[in-house]
């Protein structure tokens, strides 16, 4: 089972990212589950969301304590929250930042991947909503979920131009992972 924890701030679409992740995995023929760390959501406040992906139907209901993957939507969280907490050895942490992994002071055995998702979002969407960029990066870096399924789901959820642009963001982010 793959267990993914997403850290972000209210309004950055962390919960939506987890939902899209589960929908995409399901479209790829896998079983999936997504849920928020139920807080009192306010724009900008730290939030968490979770997703599980497996071959078998998923029954467990607890939060994720030992994620195989972590996605960090906002690098300022690194100082306030232990984003690497519990991450499995051999796991991966994908961080939205303009800096390189070695410039981040992260104490972890996991592979650290960085992408300037905010810039990508601003360039294409004109808004600092970086969740789809990070999903594209997740697809590119892990191959757990196909980029096609992700693009289908984002277009289904946001019909019209918004969905198209977000699909483009996903593609671009995936390309960056392959550079």
């Amino acid at each position: 089972m793959k267990e993914i924890r997403i850290h972000g701030r209210g309004g950055q679409g962390s919960v939506t990212a987890a939902e899209l992740l589960s929908e995409s995995a399901f479209e790829d023929g896998l079983e999936a589950q997504a849920f928020p760390a139920f807080g009192v959501e306010r724009r900008g406040a730290p939030v968490k969301a979770f997703a599980r992906i497996d071959d078998e139907p998923i029954r467990i209901r607890s939060q994720i304590y030992e994620p195989s993957h972590v996605i960090v939507q906002d690098p300022t969280l690194i100082g306030t929250i232990d984003v690497t907490k519990g991450i499995l050895d051999g796991g991966m942490i994908i961080i939205n930042t303009s800096r390189n992994p070695d410039q981040l002071d992260l104490n972890t055995q996991a592979e650290v991947v960085t992408i300037d998702a905010t810039k990508l979002a601003l360039d294409i969407l004109g808004k600092p909503i970086m969740n789809t960029a990070l999903l594209g990066a997740f697809s590119g870096a892990t191959g757990i979920v196909s980029i096609e399924a992700m693009k289908n789901r984002v277009k289904a959820r946001f019909p019209g131009e918004i969905g198209e642009k977000n699909a483009l963001v996903m593609d671009k982010a995936k390309e960056k992972m392959e550079e």
Partner: protein, 393 residues
């Protein structure tokens, strides 16, 4: 080909409501229930559901409107949680006393104070004597299925009682997972038109809501008691019929999980069952003889089924997401009453878990099993244990 797709638990319930097509939906929002009535309003606006959608100004109104519409012979739906359910409580008794088969979703949420929006069962357990059928869903599929089943049970001529379908707030309501949505025609075949014998009808006028004098009140209550007993009798058949119709395995009022040779059995209800089953599997791999029982129906309470299922076990761990102050967990006290009539009585321990949304990891379930086993080999020191209290680390 049945459509199976990923959706939020709230939306799964909204789809069930769309398929049952109530004539009236009375809606008032409260976290974590809001997405249910929000999605239903979308169905109504899009023309996918032809219901009278009443936006009322409080939960008291929501239940009052439901009583009015159900009394007029209209299939009725509403939904609430926590403090909202408490604001309804006076009217809940009217709904059941008037024998009105309203179906209501309860997105289980803790009672304040302190203010808390997260999940436990203190709300629905707090109204367990209001005369409503109570079903508890383990996952989003079951929340959908139980909503359809609840109408069928509630509207049965020998029952005619309101029904609550309880689902854990956030843990189910806000979780996305795959759900199969039955076909409209199949649901229509399963659930006949609602046409009650007694209703407010201008062609055949009656008074509903009259005074029950001491000379009559007791008989009317006795009929209600009997109606709940009837519900217990017919529910297995309804579950069976549902299974045949929709092809999904349905258990009876309880579901047994690996209880066959189990020395220790965990009994609980709601979404925690998924985590419990995972823990049971892991303990089984370690050679531990552990099983679990899910209570699907808390009202009527499955006495005989539980006695049968627990007759060979040594110890029972009852997990309650509520606490009756001055007594014990609600499920636990009911279980003890049930097992008093059994031929052999297993040792029982009550574990209070997950109050106010405290997360319950797999390890906590394993710790519970370990503690229950220890209790078997030594005199029980404490019958009620609060799990994962901070000072008990």
């Amino acid at each position: 080909m049945v459509e199976r797709r990923v959706m939020e638990g709230s939306h799964a319930v909204a789809h069930a409501v769309r398929l049952c097509a109530p004539d009236v939906v009375s809606a008032y929002p409260i976290t974590p229930q809001t997405h249910i009535v929000e999605k239903i309003s979308q169905f109504v606006a899009d023309g996918d559901l032809k219901s009278e959608y009443m936006r009322v100004e409080s939960e008291f109104s929501a239940m009052s409107a439901s009583v009015g519409s159900s009394a007029a012979g209209a299939r009725t739906f509403t939904a609430t949680a926590s403090q909202g359910l408490m604001l309804m409580s006076e009217v809940l008794y009217n709904a059941s006393g008037l024998r009105l088969p309203i179906v209501m979703s309860v997105a289980n949420r803790a009672m304040g104070a302190p203010i808390n929006i997260w999940n436990d069962h203190s709300d629905s357990m707090g109204v367990r004597d209001a005369g409503w059928i109570q079903l508890y869903a383990e996952d989003n599929q079951e929340a959908l299925d139980m909503t359809i089943q609840a109408y069928k049970i509630a509207e049965n001529q020998d029952v005619m009682l309101p029904a609550m379908v309880c689902m854990d707030g956030f843990i189910l309501t806000h979780t996305y997972e795959p759900v199969s949505i039955p076909k409209k025609e199949e649901v229509q075949e399963f659930l006949p038109e609602f046409d009650p014998e007694v209703k407010l009808d201008p062609q055949n006028p009656v008074t509903l809501g009259t005074v029950g004098f001491p000379s009559d009140y007791m008989e009317i209550r006795h009929e209600q008691y009997q109606a709940m007993e009837n519900a217990r009798d017919i529910m297995p058949d309804i579950f069976k019929e549902f299974e045949e119709k929709f092809g999904r395995k349905q258990h009876s009022l309880i579901e047994e999980y690996k209880t066959e040779d189990a020395e220790i059995i965990i009994v609980s209800l709601g979404s925690i069952m998924g985590t419990i089953k995972e823990a049971v599997d892991e303990l089984r791999e370690d050679g531990k003889q552990v099983g679990a029982i899910k209570i699907k129906a808390f009202r009527p309470f499955p006495d005989q089924e539980l006695r049968d299922a627990l007759q060979n076990t040594k110890a029972v761990a009852v997990l309650d997401k509520n606490i009756t102050l001055g007594k014990k967990g609600a499920l636990y006290t009911e279980m003890k009453d049930t097992l008093y009539q059994a031929e052999t009585q297993p040792q029982m321990t009550n574990y209070i878990i997950g109050l106010g949304g405290r997360d319950i990891p797999r390890q906590s379930i394993k710790n519970i099993v370990k503690q229950t086993k220890e209790n078997l080999n030594s005199p029980q020191t404490r019958e009620v244990r609060f799990v994962d209290l901070k000072e008990e680390k």
